[in-house]
Symmetry: C2
Subunit: 214 residues, 2 copies
DNA sequence: CCGCATCCCATGTGATACTG
DNA sequence: CAGTATCACATGGGATGCGG
């Protein structure tokens, strides 16, 4: 156990001892969206072996990052306040990794929680605060999200029946819209994004609200 | 090789594929301070096996994060512009891990580069910009640094012979000064920090300039 | 079912030694 | 100094089992 330590008295080192193991920060990423059950985490991390998920959850609890909450007939895991402080780390990683994303490969999936965190990463509060409140229904592969922007505040939730200003469907190549490589108009023309409901011009507002440098 | 991938189309996931391996971000941490030779990296990471250092450097090059520069009679590694973008990640990790640092253990060392990045993490530009330019000589264990603050700008370098406003020596418990658990006055009284030269009151300014929440 | 625990094998890691 | 080579061992991955 001590062999996994780096032997340095340094905050960065300590952080990596706590969350540097494989899969750990991806579990945190999903828990940043909300409390999750064991099986929900498995679904959000399709390739994680179940023994690894179990041990990571145990380690994250010992580190004070995750709390295990037994409820009637189900158990949920949620971040502690300290665990929620990892949001900065996850966002910074997301910004960095986005630039190296490239084109989606066949075996790569998009999950609801990863897309939610991508929206949070790409969100431009300063731009949004100058725009009227807008709600979107985003259908990206298997993920169906309700994205609502009001002032500089962003809320992303599972899609429900509530009405939205713009409903659209897209593949992983929505990345090019967020990076600005493709304009909203081009994305619609290429059918990279398909407008299902609402005025297509709103897609341009969406692209301004969510942007990450490539 | 593909087995190390997470199978998700997501920036956070991609970032972890690039720099999530053990030791990788610690190598980046040291290279954020400046270009380093192979042997210098070994010294800054006392417990890294040499084969691991070699393969990490190779992987970081393939990822476009590190550049290998052969010079006359020596080879240096430096971050690419893309690699330098990891500073946000490293700083965020440092902030997070600092809170879990606890007291230094016997086998834990403080290196010059890790301390340099700790200063960068703890630096409060807004506070500093309201204070007169100040230079410090900080001797923490084997690390001897020249820290100079001017306006909202911080520069940390290896200690040289140039005069400084305050010269002090401390152990790893300098952490308590940075976290605010100990005031500058207490730190001097406890001999946690020993003033070698200059007006002791400047240590209070130092503590205001460098602060991280505990 | 859901929430894990166990088993087994492939791979990655760590310590040491060695080489151009 | 800047790495390779080697080998023991720990960890991760995948399948499977099992109790509540």
């Amino acid at each position: 156990m001590a062999s996994r330590e780096y032997g340095q008295y340094c905050g960065i080192t300590r952080a990596l001892e706590l969350v540097g193991e494989r899969w750990a920060l991806l579990i945190v990423r999903d828990l940043l969206v909300g409390p999750r059950r064991y099986g929900e985490l498995q679904h959000g991390l399709p390739r994680i072996p179940s023994n690894i998920l179990a041990s990571r959850l145990k380690e994250l609890q010992e580190a004070g990052i995750v709390r295990r909450i037994p409820r009637v007939r189900q158990i949920v895991y949620e971040l502690t306040p300290y665990g929620r402080e990892l949001e900065d780390v996850v966002i910074a990683l997301g910004r960095f990794g986005f630039k190296a994303l490239g084109d989606p490969r066949e075996e790569q999936v998009v999950t609801a929680d990863s897309l939610t965190m991508t929206f949070r990463t790409a969100f431009q509060p300063d731009v949004a605060s100058g725009l009227p409140p807008t709600s979107y229904a985003a259908l990206v592969g298997p993920a169906a999200l309700h994205v609502s922007v009001a002032g500089s505040r962003l809320q992303v939730a599972r899609l429900d029946e509530a009405p939205v200003d713009l409903r659209f469907e897209a593949g992983p190549d929505i990345r090019r819209l967020i990076s600005g490589e493709t304009s909203a108009e081009e994305a619609i023309a290429d059918a990279a994004v398909r407008i299902l409901d609402g005025p297509p011009e709103l897609l341009h507002r969406f692209a301004r609200t969510f942007h990450l440098a490539a």
